[in-house]
């Protein structure tokens, strides 16, 4: 596992350098288009400052913004022992030294994400919909996938490159718009040479403004997809039970709910694309996630061993491509790892309805609802905003104090 993380790091640094150079070039060319002599440096400076500010804001706030935006509530072991246990199991399986915090998001769409830029301060969040729909084995598969993102440092990497992508897109759009409104200032240049240089820069800048965001996005999405596959492969290795993740993905794919708080930058961290798929045709190239049906097919054709080589072979077979999903160092050791059987354990409560009710109560509890058990058998759920001192039971009209 360790060597794999190392290989990953090298690859990530490579991509970040490519994107960084693109950004600097973009700044230089746009700046030069405004002012051929000194504009280039100013352009680079602006691009860099923009990136640095966005990065610092993200880095210092860590995962707080994402968690706050999605309305996630932290759960401790006594609130939901099963979920907490599953996360701890996967933390152990992945060999990660620090326990991530565990969060629940109150939304019916089944999904999960990992976050945290520093290894000692990470978090795993699952939606209430996920808890109601999956059994223990399936949940374990999903958490293993998220744990793999944490161990592989995908969160840090996708955040850094996501911000670079954002700045590239932003700069290009600002430039193109200023062109439309005739904002190029140096039209009456002092000499003929300078005028010509400006026209050359202008043409290059226009080409760049159109191509750079597209290229950067394609690169970013391609890497994001590779990392999803790698996280799936790692999840299989951690759990030694590919069917768990496969059937979880199947259940997730059947739901059409969208997560409102997700966007293109945070999407790579979710286990399945949280944004609704409109116009599926072109989106294969611009999708942060590989098609879910393909991921399921790969997981189901892994065979009898949970090692990385088996996953790579299954990938080649299903996709018909020879792309290296797993870095070479992960394929070196092809010792077969036995796949275990299903544990067959249900999740909190026995019947479907009971599970749903339990999770519902849990979410209310996390949102500071108070509960009153009426002697007639009704459980009153009082929202924190309820200011009245008295509550009446809807069935027996008994009076309680809230």
């Amino acid at each position: 596992m360790w060597e794999l993380v190392q290989a990953n790091k090298r690859k990530s640094v490579g991509l970040i350098i490519v994107m960084g150079v693109t950004l600097i070039l973009l700044g230089f060319i746009f700046g030069s288009a405004y002012h051929p002599e000194s504009g280039g440096m100013v352009g680079i400076f602006i691009a860099f400052i923009l990136w640095a500010i966005l990065f610092l804001v993200t880095y210092s706030s860590g995962s707080k913004i994402l968690l706050a935006v999605s309305g996630a509530k932290e759960v401790t072991k006594d609130v939901h022992p099963q979920l907490y246990n599953v996360v701890e199991e996967m933390k152990i399986a992945s060999g990660h030294p620090h326990m991530p915090k565990v969060y629940i998001i109150d939304t019916p769409a089944p999904n999960a994400f990992a976050t945290g830029l520093k290894p000692n301060n990470t978090a795993v969040a699952v939606t209430a919909g996920l808890l109601t729909k999956l059994n223990r084995d399936e949940l374990q598969g999903v958490i293993a996938h998220e744990m793999a993102h944490i161990v592989n440092r995908d969160v840090l990497f996708m955040t850094v490159s996501g911000i670079m992508l954002g700045v590239i897109v932003l700069l290009s759009q600002v430039f193109v718009r200023s062109m439309f409104f005739g904002g190029i200032g140096g039209r009456h240049s002092r000499s003929k040479d300078a005028g010509q240089a400006q026209i050359v820069f202008l043409v290059i800048a226009i080409v760049f403004a159109i191509l750079a965001p597209i290229a950067a996005q394609l690169l970013y999405f391609a890497i994001s997809r590779t990392r999803e596959y790698l996280a799936d492969a790692s999840a299989v290795r951690f759990t030694r039970y590919p069917e768990g993740l496969a059937s979880a993905l199947h259940k997730i794919s059947r739901s059409s709910d969208e997560i409102k708080s997700a966007n293109k930058v945070t999407a790579p961290m979710y286990i399945a694309n949280p944004l609704k798929k409109k116009g599926r045709k072109l989106s294969d190239l611009t999708s942060t996630h590989p098609p879910i049906s393909e991921r399921i097919k790969i997981l189901r054709s892994i065979g009898r061993s949970a090692d990385f080589t088996s996953y790579q072979n299954a990938f080649n077979q299903v996709s018909g491509k020879e792309t290296k999903i797993i870095p070479q160092s992960g394929l070196k050791d092809a010792t077969p790892i036995d796949i275990r059987g299903a544990s067959g354990l249900p999740f909190v409560g026995e019947t479907k309805k009971q599970v749903q009710r339990n999770v519902g109560d849990l979410v209310m509890q996390l949102n500071d609802y108070s509960f009153i058990n009426c002697p007639c058998g009704v459980k009153l759920k009082v929202p924190p905003a309820y200011k009245n001192k008295k509550v009446f039971c809807p069935r027996c009209k008994r009076q309680h104090s809230s």
Partner: protein
């Protein structure tokens, strides 16, 4: 003059290589130790849970005295085990008896409705999982470490500073667990 410089350079390079091998061996050995302590924590946790479990089910399972006694016995043996090999054997026995217990539980629907028992069962299942996951991790680390000790040229450094190979933590009945034996 040039000769001495080359000589010094060669010595320095060899020394640096030496240090880096030594450091990576130490790092791997620490990782093995750390992985072992993870297993130990979970084994202790299981030992602590079992008395509670027995206490809870005793009232329900009056006809299963034998199964319960075998769990208690296996537990006390596991608590006393010292070396990695001994522990592996004793814990394997404990896992086997608990497996039997889980099969028997199916016959007691009352028990499966007991909230206390359910939460204990979740704890025990999770602890069993944690044991097997930390065992996976420990064995991976031991494999890395042992490979490093055996391979050239790190084996020279390992030999000089007495880095010795570590034992794998193998629970013997792995094969048996998959195919339950039926005897008539």
């Amino acid at each position: 003059m040039i000769g001495t410089i080359i000589l010094i350079a060669v010595i320095v390079i060899i020394a640096l290589v030496f240090i880096s091998y030594y450091n990576s061996l130490v790092k791997l050995r620490n990782q093995v130790k750390n992985a072992w302590s993870q297993i130990d924590v979970q084994l202790k946790r299981r030992h602590d849970l079992i008395p509670n479990l027995i206490e809870t089910v005793k009232g329900y399972m009056t006809h299963e005295r034998e199964t319960l006694d075998s769990i208690t016995k296996a537990r006390s043996q596991a608590v006393q085990a010292e070396t990695v090999g001994e522990k592996a054997k004793a814990e394997g026995e404990l896992t086997r008896t608990l497996g039997k217990f889980n099969l028997v539980v199916e016959n007691y629907p009352d028990l499966k409705a007991n909230q206390n028992f359910l939460s204990l069962q979740e704890e025990l299942t999770s602890t069993e999982n944690k044991i097997s996951f930390s065992r996976q991790n420990y064995n991976d680390q031991v494999l890395f470490y042992n490979n490093k000790i055996q391979m050239f040229p790190s084996n020279i450094v390992a030999g000089m500073f007495r880095f010795t190979e570590e034992e794998f933590f193998e629970i013997e009945d792995e094969k048996e667990k998959k195919v339950p034996k039926v005897s008539f």
